[in-house]
Structure formats: structure tokens, C-alpha cells
Subunit: 246 residues, 2 copies
Amino acid sequence: MTLHPPKIGPQDCGDCPIRHRAVCSRCEPDELGRLESMKYYRSFQAGQTVIWSGDRMEFVASVVTGIATLTQTMEDGRRQMVGLLLPSDFVGRPGRGVAPYDVTATTDLVMCCFRKKPFEDMMATTPHVAQRLLEMTLDELDAAREWMLLLGRKTAREKIASLLAIIARRVSGQKQRIGAVQFDLPLTREEMADYLGLTLETVSRQMSALKRDGVIHLQEKRRILVPDLDALSNETGDDQVGEMLA
Amino acid sequence: MTLHPPKIGPQDCGDCPIRHRAVCSRCEPDELGRLESMKYYRSFQAGQTVIWSGDRMEFVASVVTGIATLTQTMEDGRRQMVGLLLPSDFVGRPGRGVAPYDVTATTDLVMCCFRKKPFEDMMATTPHVAQRLLEMTLDELDAAREWMLLLGRKTAREKIASLLAIIARRVSGQKQRIGAVQFDLPLTREEMADYLGLTLETVSRQMSALKRDGVIHLQEKRRILVPDLDALSNETGDDQVGEMLA
DNA sequence: CGCGTGCGTTGATCTGGATCAAACGGGAAA
DNA sequence: TTTCCCGTTTGATCCAGATCAACGCACGCG
């Protein structure tokens, strides 16, 4: 079924682009060595499913390059994206055997996988991996709760603006909401809809509205230019002051 | 402002009702002793605010008895509940100084508070607290993601049924969805609305509809009788099989 | 006792976003 | 080149849930 593309990736953890932010970021050289012995890389093409909900999981993993999504699907087909995985984000849960969500590559994707059993053993015996994983999980929990506010209470326009602002900030790297930013949307309209709890038609209409109002400019559907990140942030419904101290 | 009711609580951790499920559940006797030295109890009356969003937090805490809520509020007053805290649940984040959400007691509440600095020191030097906290945080993250599906994709009726089913299962203790269950709702209609991303009128109407359809019986507004937990679960929109293995 | 006040219910109407439907445009295959 | 396909846009209509409004009921208080 799955054809395996060449197993690329930085064989040496020292060269790894996510070395300083992933689960392994706190590890000492000897711990890194131990991780190297249990790791292997896997590549996926855009659109491929990494893990199906309900599958037995024999590994946990970090996103090295590319973007993946976490989605839940109801029997009748309603879908909700519950997570967007960027480089350095972690997939899987030590101590659980079955995947609760579908994991899908939305762009070409390289994952650094750790065999589950050795990884769990390492978690139990050395503190650095567990400490970092706790920190990352707490960050994800905060993000999930911010998303709950968006899903429960924001208007369609606010939802779109929030998503664009988040991607703009993550892509541009800068926390500051100053000046112009330009980036490629990594999601289709339908994926945006699944993330925001909307239909793809509403996403398209609100994108057009934001464009009409000059908040964003579209060149080529996916390439977004935000002339003023501050103006975009004003459309998110978020408290401007409260955001600053987060 | 805040008047302090008598500081009740099990002074000895050995007698604590949440001893086996809270952050401290993995601790050895010597570690418990260390925790005892940094802990103190605080009581709150139903309706009191435990922590305001933006407040400096000088402690982390476990819920001992009672129920508390975590809510986010937008400038214009829209509110979204992002967590429901039952006994043994943990509040606060080691390593962060400012509270991101309002924490409110919905019933009379007793919390076991740990001074933040000593607690953080203990997390850094002994693994048992951190390990348990990671496990609990991962559970909360799963719950938050389940809630994202509810907020983004479920109908009003499915939302109400899901909330009632969750409370029924947690209150009755039994994971099995068999037979009749009876319990008191710990939330007002407005709090339910804030949790579900609805208005209180819609909550009231859907409660009436579920009553009309015989899925629940109401005696005295808050006292709920679920004659058949299975029938209620069928109204949640959730995959029956998928739930089993979670 | 009458009165307010806090919850909850119910009714009438409105509306934001869903649904149904058609068409566009660019890239790849034929 | 033409055709097809996929992602996207736009239009017309519908409807679930929001909003506005009135009222019921239980409880505590002067």
C-alpha cells in the first residue's frame, strides 16, 4: 500500500533543524545518542495519511519538515481538525497504543519516529525528555483552549482572521504584529473550514470579504499578503492587551 | 474582599480523598511529606472567583472537593468555558506566572494549594510529580480536543446530550452506559451555554426537547434522571464503537 | 404578607452561516 | 490543442440557533 520514498533526514541529531525545539531539545549528548538508536525517518507526500484513527501505534514522532493535521471524523462525515502540526511538534502519546485521530500530511512531510517501547523506557528513566514533553503538552493545551473560544464564540470573519493571524505570526517568526507579512497558505479552503468549524463556501466568502476590505491581498489563491498585521489582528476579536503577555 | 472560611481539609495526605488520582498519586511517603510542607487548603463558596485571568499566580492547586470552571471572556462579553474541574483535577502551570483564564467555584470548593516555587523545585528534582502531571495534562488535551469537535461540528441537541452523558458517566463512576442514572446538574443553564457555545435559551429548549422525547426526566430543574444511558449516548452523535476503546 | 431577584421556560422573529447549485480557471493528461 | 479535474468562487435559498421579549416559579427579605 504505502510506498516508501527515500528515507531522508539528518542522520546526526546535531544537524537536525528542530534540535533546539523538539522533545529532544533538553537532552545531553549521551541522551541524544540513546535517542538516535531508537529513531528512524519516514517521509510522506502531500495528502498521504500518516496514521488512521484506531490504528495501533508502534511509534511516537516529531515533525521535522512540512505540515500535518490532526482530525476527528464523525460517522456521518462531519470533520473537525483538532491540531495543526508544524516542525518540532510531537505526535503520539507514550502509554497509549491506539491513535485517537487521523494524522495527515498536508504538505510533503518528514517525521523523526521513535520506537514506542524504548522511548517509553527512556521517559521513565531520564527526566529531560519527559520535562520537555510536559512543557510542549501544556502549550498545546493552551492552544486547544484558545481554539475552543474560537469555535464556540467567534464569527466566521473573526475565525478566518484568527487563523490567518496565527499562521502569519508563526511563518514570519516575529511575535510583533507590525508591518507587512507575506506567506503561502498551507491549507485548502476545505481544510481551513475543517479547522474553523465552517463550510468551505463560508471560508471562501469571508476570504473574499477580507480581500475586498483591504485586510489581505490574494495573489494566486494561496499566496497571502497581509499589508498590516495589526489591522488583521483587529479583526480577530481577541483582546489586544491580553495577547501581549501570553 | 475575600473572606476566608475556616481552612478545612484533610491535614494528612494519607486521608485525602483524591490521594490516588491527583498530581501526588505517584508519590512515595517521603515525597508526600515534602508536599505537605508546601501545601495549604483554601475554601471557596459557590459563585466565588478563585483566580482572575491576568492575575499573578503564586500557587498551583488540586481540586479536593466541589467543582470549578475555567472560562475565557472576550472584550464584548462573549464567554467560553474551556474546562470543568472536578475533584483531583489540577489548576495552574508550573513555570508560568500569570493566569490565562478565570477560575470560578460553581459549587462550594476546597482546593489543596502548593506554593509555586517549592512545587517547581520539586518537579525539577523528583520525577513522580512531573510524570503524573504529564499524564493528567495529556488526558486534558484529549478532552479539549473532544470538546473542539463538539463546539465545531455538533448540533445543539448533540451538544446537550454529550454534556449530560459526560456528567452522568463521571458522576455515576461507571464507564458502562447501561441502565438508569440520576444526578444533580452542577451547572446553571447559562453555564451550560457557556460550555457548549450556545445561548441559555437554546439550552433550555433542547433540555425540554430531550425531556419531551423521554431521553431524560427532570425533577426540580437541576435533578436529572436518565432512564437509559444508552439512549442518551445515541443522541450525542459520537461513534459508539470508537468510544469503547478510549 | 407583598415584593424583589435569580433562574428557568416559552413564544415570536431575525439572521449568519449552511445548503444547493452553477460556473470559473489553471494545470495535467490525452 | 482539447478535455478533464480539482480547488475555488459566487449566487439563491433555507434553516438552526440567536435575539428580543414576556412570563412563571421559588425563595429570601423587609
